[in-house]
């Protein structure tokens, strides 16, 4: 007798989906609860305080939460944009020109991929402290702009997607190198650079240690660091737990929206180096 196989595999996949969506569903519900309800009612029963919680979050220390959100958007948005641009230009140069020092630069960059950013954070702090740049927006932005990994991806992508003949034809027509880069090569690399942007956006938004080390003034905090400091104070002020939960929901919603809108641009195949020309 042949058993139909559609059932069990579908069930297992859906189980995985439920596991992954559960905390998101939980925070949606928990954000509706007052502090009392958070610790007393059944986990998935909806509370009545969503609006009150949002109002309280909005008013918390003069609206500092929104400042944190704006900071996160600035660090991740601007950082990833600059990073994608820098990766595109550098990756194209490394892929399409044979020049002295190319191998050296590329190997140094690869070594940079291998050195974990987390280990670098402390010495970066020390060095920036020497020049008085710690506790500034730049201290978080600068280290985020250079991404050896992004350059690596851009190089692979440039090699695969910018045909040699097109570059040669432009040269024959008398276009300068900068012009070829700006109006021919980079536009052809846009799908790959979108991937670099997305990876860099997520990794900057996720980066906890760098701002944790660099920043002292909480007006410059990204939202993750801000919520962490609130959680730490929750030990003595349990009402803050409600705000942390509500804040988590509000901070995650734009990320989820961005993710769902852009998820078809995630070119994971780039990662495995499996790009076909």
């Amino acid at each position: 007798m042949r058993v139909r196989l559609g059932g069990l595999p579908t069930f297992v996949l859906l189980l995985g989906a439920v596991y992954c969506l559960f905390p998101v569903a939980w925070v949606l519900v928990a954000a509706t609860k007052s502090t009392g309800e958070l610790f007393s009612t059944t986990t998935l029963s909806v509370g009545s305080s969503l609006v009150a919680n949002l109002a309280e979050l909005n008013g918390y220390r003069g609206g500092v939460f929104w400042r944190w959100m704006a900071n996160s958007a600035l660090y991740a948005g601007l950082g990833a944009l600059l990073s994608a641009a820098l990766s595109g230009v550098t990756g194209y140069a490394l892929a399409k020109y044979a020049f002295r020092g190319r191998a050296l630069i590329f190997n140094a960059l690869i070594a940079g991929v291998l050195v974990p950013a987390v280990v670098l954070a402390v010495p970066q702090y020390l060095l920036l402290a020497k020049v008085g740049l710690t506790d500034t927006y730049l201290s978080v932005l600068l280290p985020s702009v250079i991404s050896p990994y992004g350059i690596y991806l851009a190089r692979i992508y440039a090699a695969a997607s910018v045909p040699e003949e097109v570059v040669e034809a432009a040269r024959t027509d008398g276009a300068g190198e900068a012009r070829i880069l700006g109006s021919i090569a980079l536009p052809m690399m846009v799908p790959g650079l979108v991937t670099v942007f997305l990876f860099q956006f997520v990794s900057i938004w996720n980066n906890f240690m760098l701002p944790y080390i660099m920043l002292g003034d909480d007006g410059k905090f990204p939202v993750t660091l801000g919520l962490y400091t609130m959680l730490k104070q929750g030990n003595t002020t349990p009402a803050l737990y409600t705000l942390v939960v509500t804040g988590s929901l509000v901070s995650v919603l734009p990320l989820i929206a961005l993710f769902l809108t852009l998820q078809r641009y995630w070119r994971i195949d780039l990662l495995s180096g499996a790009v076909k020309a």
Partner: protein
């Protein structure tokens, strides 16, 4: 001159953000502060060269050793679980008969977009005895509750957060690799009488080996860097010390105790371990990476 102009900004930033800090850390790791007299006033503190002293102290530091062991234990739970689940999900996504594929794929990948700190906050509340749905369920069934924030439970609590955040990403990498396998291979196997299970075990998994090596190494490296999750959970439990992982100890040494020299030596040690592992990754992947260049 064009290529030099194009790579110059990256090279300058690279030197500032990577090369100089690394050199500075190595330099610092060879020194120590010497205090003369009461340690007050100018000139009473000076940097003295101590050679490999800081390294010897780091390597014989019992707390650092314990931290390294804790990370190993955490990784031993995390890496096999995450990759095992990712492999199962990827194979299931690749089956023609499975339904709700698009939905499951996005749902399982979704946690990747959520920062580790936020993930830890959410799971932290799901672990807290007062708010945990698991314990509520167990209470209803009159069974004893589990404390995932206990000294043993914390390994599973942390591993779960990382599995949750990373399983979808690895699933997508593996699924992408699966789709590049020519489908006539399966057709031939089916005609030869292979069941889908046999096709998965005898054809798909062996062909996935390079992708599995790659995802394993990436996961191991990410595991060694764990910092945000235990730091975020620490306010919720006494099971997590401020030096629970080696990186947390680096932070404590540098900013809690103000001993930059020890922190630098420990950083260099951690970086070396990662470099050795990453170098393995490079050897595995580099041969396939570059085609179509001049």
């Amino acid at each position: 001159m064009a290529p030099y102009a194009f790579v110059a900004p990256a090279v300058v930033l690279f030197v500032l953000v990577f090369a100089l800090p690394i050199a500075y850390t190595v330099y610092l790791s060879l020194f120590r502060t010497e205090v003369r007299g009461l340690g007050l006033g100018r000139g009473s503190r000076s940097e003295v060269f101590v050679g490999l002293d800081n390294y010897v102290r780091a390597l014989t530091d019992s707390e650092l050793g314990a931290g390294a062991l804790r990370v190993l234990g955490y990784g031993a739970i995390l890496v096999p679980t995450m990759l095992g689940l990712a492999l199962v999900f990827a194979l299931l996504l690749d089956e023609d008969r499975v339904r709700a594929r698009g939905f499951s794929r996005i749902a399982i990948f979704l946690p990747y977009a959520i920062p580790g700190v936020i993930a830890s906050l959410l799971w932290g509340f799901l672990y807290l005895p007062g708010t945990s749905p698991l314990n509520q369920l167990l209470r209803e069934l009159s069974m004893p509750g589990v404390d995932l924030l206990s000294p043993t439970g914390i390994y599973f609590a942390l591993a779960n957060i990382a599995v949750w955040g990373g399983v979808g990403y690895n699933m997508v990498v593996l699924h992408t690799a699966l789709r590049s396998i020519p489908r006539d291979l399966y057709e031939a196997a089916r005609i030869d009488g292979c069941t889908p299970w046999q096709v998965a075990v005898r054809i798909k998994i062996p062909l996935l080996a390079p992708a599995l090596v790659l995802t394993s190494l990436f996961s191991i490296i990410a595991t060694l860097q764990v910092f945000a999750e235990p730091t975020t959970l620490a306010p919720l439990t006494n099971s997590l010390s401020l030096t629970w992982t080696p990186l947390m100890k680096v932070y404590q040494d540098a900013f809690g105790r103000g001993d930059l020299y020890s922190a630098a030596a420990t950083s260099v040690l951690i970086a070396s371990v990662m470099f050795v592992i990453s170098f393995g990754l490079l050897r595995v992947t580099r041969s396939r990476a570059f085609g179509g260049e001049r």
